[in-house]
Point group: C2
Chain length 362, copies 2
DNA sequence: CTGTTAGCGCGTTCAC
DNA sequence: GTGAACGCGCTAACAG
């Protein structure tokens, strides 16, 4: 028993396929009686339009693709959540494609999307926009979020990683820290490199000596980095981690070693993933409103798709910059309450900081 | 400048479209010279097959759909991660559709997938399988993960929520707890109801009085539930939360109130989301290997699709049951180390517990 | 207002 | 081995 097609419906309703199409799409006038007969037949046959076929003739798929390097951790899931929310309001489907570590895989993924999506959002922290453009199929609208340099002339959204890193370091310095170590992200990752560069610059500007420990954005690497530092007899009084996940790993390693945070070592992360406010001490970080950024990315993509359709409206090729906002929590607080368990002094301060960012804590 | 079609390639290579197709799909023999000419033309025109059109003639989309109620929190993102991993190994695309709170929305989402996917995985904790089946388009292979009763005759994977809840309560009782409260999930959610039922039954079996506090699976609801309990002068010595997210909220509320965990109140959650081992005290919970479950779901769906194609192989309509495993961490440990910060006594015990579950901690 | 017909881009029989 | 023709399911012109 195969699924009914539009012809089956037409036959049963004693009308032409065109009329069925008109009733279903809403376009074109149809007389009430025929309309009723069509709807009746549709119900009787449990007919559902074949969106694939429809796409072929309208050349619109009502689907957008999202290619991203990974799906692990809260960052990407939050991003996708924001995109999904926006997609729903536009009546679009979302097709995700992840785990593309290298350029070739990403290219293949992008190519395989042709004829399947109306546009795509590409996150590829390993590639620069130029390389990526080469592998793009046809003139499909694409919004880049590759964290590279502000690549002029190509629609994109990038996070100000450099500026965020500088702000994080300055915050630690303001809190009294002098020997600030940085746990960096994976080599080759543009976001990680920009954050490290910001750290190095801010340290130099303050006349402090930079110290970078390797990491790869994973929690275990943050944990390992701190253990290595401690084993070497580190005297650091602060740590700026390349992302929150590593910062959490660092926090745990400090706890295990009996090092107090923030009294002995202050810690600041990057991203403000949901966990950040749940760990103890709560994690100070550079907030990126992740879900909101995802929503914004999808909205812009929709505009690009419209621009392509209408020809009239110009495509918005701007490189939008998301500026992270410092969220000072307990892990970098100068005078944390003695007993964080029983007090919510910290929380009050956190709330004010956060509400300024238009977000609600806990 | 429009994208090239198979005809453009054929023209440039001086061959028929059929030959181009043969070269690209690999099916059918082609002489080497023509083969070269085709590949050359493909490269010259940067031709990429239109997967939408291909789908229409092969009636395979190489895409599977996942409809789920929400995308918030770590549970669903972990699940999707597992599915995405499996999808990649099968060369399939994943199209996600979320935020379907009620039956109608879910049905619409399911319907809109016809002609777009080869099969789908449906998570709909608000619907029973029977209702859902009604809204299914044609005979599309569907794997259910709706948490309902083991609905015979329909391929599905369900978590043994009832059994898990019983095990959680028994664990708390074994630890000395007698007045165990339960923070339940949203009404109408089948998973939540099964967990509550398990709790009630286990309490009754032990001759203890059950006490249920409302929650909705959100962290804030867990937080609010504990605050309410405390305000009423609760004497509970343990809390079994309907999921980890609420358990974390509960943990924070206890801390804020100066109530020690697990000394004064032990807490056990459900799911074992990644955060569970990051909070302090680390959260005891009923582990579901989420990503693995997602992978398994996709693998089974692939089998169903194959079975539909081959006619020969029978469809596996079994209702697979995932049994949660108790992971005892600090939040329910009878004799936690006095200073969790400086010691890793706890971690040792945790590790052993977890490794028995075939997983690695931290 | 309605029915007929021509594509959308591709895979795939069939004859050659 | 190769090419011409048909069909996948639907929308959109075009006649009637």
């Amino acid at each position: 028993m195969k699924a009914a097609t539009i012809r089956d419906v037409a036959a049963r309703a004693q009308v032409s396929v065109a009329s069925v199409s008109r009733v279903l799409t809403g376009a074109g006038a149809v007389t009430e009686p025929t309309r009723q007969r069509v709807l009746e037949a549709v119900a009787a046959l449990a007919y559902v339009p074949h969106s694939g076929a429809r796409s072929l003739s309208t050349s619109r798929t009502d689907t957008v693709g999202v290619v991203l390097p990974d799906l692990f951790g809260e960052f990407f899931s939050e991003l996708i959540r924001g995109m999904d929310l926006a997609a729903r309001t536009h009546g679009l489907h979302l097709i995700v494609s992840s785990s593309h570590d290298d350029a070739d895989e990403a290219s293949a993924a992008i190519r395989s999307m042709r004829g399947r999506v109306d546009g795509m959002i590409v996150l590829s922290p390993h590639l620069d926009a130029a390389n990526l453009a080469a592998s793009l199929a046809g003139s499909l609208p694409v919004l880049l979020m590759n964290g590279g340099a502000t690549d002029a002339g190509r629609p994109s959204i990038v996070v100000d990683n450099h500026g965020g890193a500088v702000a994080a370091v300055e915050h630690l310095i303001a809190g009294g820290a002098r020997d600030i170590a940085h746990i960096c992200g994976p080599t080759g990752n543009l976001e990680a490199e920009a954050r490290m560069a910001g750290y190095v610059q801010a340290m130099a500007a303050a006349g402090l000596k930079a110290r970078v420990v390797d990491g790869d954005f994973s929690q275990s690497s943050g944990h390992a980095a701190v253990r290595a530092m401690l084993a070497e007899g580190s005297h650091s009084d602060a740590i700026f981690a390349g992302n929150d996940v590593m910062a959490v790993g660092a926090l745990l390693a400090l706890q295990e070693a009996g090092v107090r945070c923030p009294e002995d070592v202050a810690v600041v992360g990057f991203d403000d993933v949901p966990i950040a406010q749940l760990v103890r001490p709560s994690l100070s970080t550079m907030r990126i409103n992740i879900a909101e950024t995802g929503r914004r990315a999808l909205d812009r993509l929709v505009d690009l798709i419209r621009a392509k359709d209408d020809e009239a409206l110009p495509a918005d090729v701007a490189c939008e910059i998301v500026r992270p906002v410092l969220v000072a929590r307990d892990s970098s607080r100068a005078n944390p309450s003695i007993n964080t368990q029983a007090s919510d002094d910290g929380r009050t301060a956190v709330k004010s900081t956060i509400s300024s960012g238009g977000h609600q804590d806990v």
